[in-house]
């Protein structure tokens, strides 16, 4: 789990964007494929923002569902809707592209699909405290 590394990235990016101004809130979009524990992430952001202009900021997290889209047949599916081997899930949460090595389109069996949703952690917006 790398919630702390991501939290560090969030706090750094928020402070960079705020340019010295105090931050009231941050809205995050978190991809399901990353398998991040939201509560641990929130806690880590809280701890890492202590003593900075982002201290005490509200953290809103929207989860983006995982979606793969097959380039061969056009099928779209949520890979997390089926039972996946724990070891493979471990690989995917670090490197979502590993899904293309170990999984296949449930409709046509192709490995040529793209990750159309559910990856990454995005900072959607920040709210500056007036």
């Amino acid at each position: 789990m790398h919630e702390w590394a991501l939290a560090e990235g969030v706090v750094g990016s928020v402070l960079g964007a705020a340019g010295g101004r105090r931050v009231a809130a941050v809205r995050l979009r978190l991809g399901e494929l990353q398998q991040i524990d939201v509560e641990v992430l929130r806690f880590a952001i809280g701890e890492l923002s202590r003593g900075t202009a982002a201290e005490g900021m509200e953290v809103e997290v929207q989860t983006e569902p995982a979606e793969f889209e097959c380039t061969s047949c056009g099928n779209r599916w949520n890979p997390l809707g089926t039972k996946i081997d724990g070891d493979i899930m471990e690989l995917i949460h670090f490197l979502p592209e590993s899904s293309k090595i170990h999984m296949r389109c449930p409709r046509c069996g192709s490995s040529d699909f793209r990750i159309s949703g559910g990856r990454g952690l995005w900072i959607e917006s920040i709210l500056i405290r007036e």
Binding site: A5, E90, L91, L95, E97, S98, K100, I101, D112
Partner: protein, 216 residues
């Protein structure tokens, strides 16, 4: 270590360079960016298991920290598109825990695609060494790489002629700085997979001279 051309010996030179620098007491990381045909683990004679601790921990071989696509792919072929390669490079750089290093050697795959562009983007201080062999075919392709690096404003240290046979030749590659030659080594194949043997090879002997002048 880049070349544009396949089969010129980048993986061997990267691996032996890493072993040499480590034997000199430097902290060395080795990143194999050839996702389709990873070879560094074969040269060093190691498996690369998936080890996790708040990120991915590189394997350690002879003091060298090694990361490649192997923990993720195993023996499975990697059928990726360009954007997958770009993403995977970013993710590997983000999640690998190298700790402090003096050198990070990056073994580049053949071609002048995503890997070159993403290294320029994410590791802008990276210094490139081009590897060429005496063949006209290699010189042609690697010449393109040299021009690409110039267009990209990359830091280019110069080129190494690998598998050298005519030791009196004056290799020329698009006017680039010649760093030295590594002789064709008939004993190399036997040494593959054995770091101690690699360090005693002709390849290591020649690379040592090249690195000595680079490290001054």
């Amino acid at each position: 270590m880049a070349s544009g051309k396949g089969g010129v010996g980048k993986s061997v030179l990267s691996s032996v360079s890493a072993l040499l620098l480590s034997s000199l007491g430097r902290r060395v990381g080795l990143l194999d960016l050839d996702f389709y045909g990873p070879s560094v683990h074969t040269v060093l004679g190691t498996g690369v298991e998936f080890r996790e601790d708040r990120g991915i921990l590189p394997a350690e071989v002879h003091g060298v920290k090694l990361m490649s696509i192997l923990p993720f792919a195993g023996e499975s072929p990697v059928l990726w598109r360009g954007q997958d390669v770009s993403q995977a490079i970013l993710e590997l750089l983000a999640v690998t825990r190298w700790s402090e290093l003096d050198f990070l050697i990056v073994d580049m795959p053949p071609g002048t695609g995503e890997e070159i562009l993403e290294i320029r983007r994410f590791l802008p201080r990276a210094e490139f060494i081009a590897v060429v062999t005496p063949s006209k075919l290699a010189v042609g392709t690697v010449g393109r790489l040299v021009r690409a690096l110039s267009e990209l404003g990359a830091n280019f240290l110069g080129f190494v002629e690998n598998m050298s046979v005519d030791l009196r030749s004056q290799p020329d590659l698009a006017g680039a700085r010649f760093l030295g030659r590594v002789r064709f080594d008939p004993g190399l194949e036997e040494a593959i997979g054995k770091p101690d043997a690699l360090l005693r090879s002709l390849v290591a002997e020649d690379l040592r001279k090249i690195w000595s002048s680079l490290l001054i």
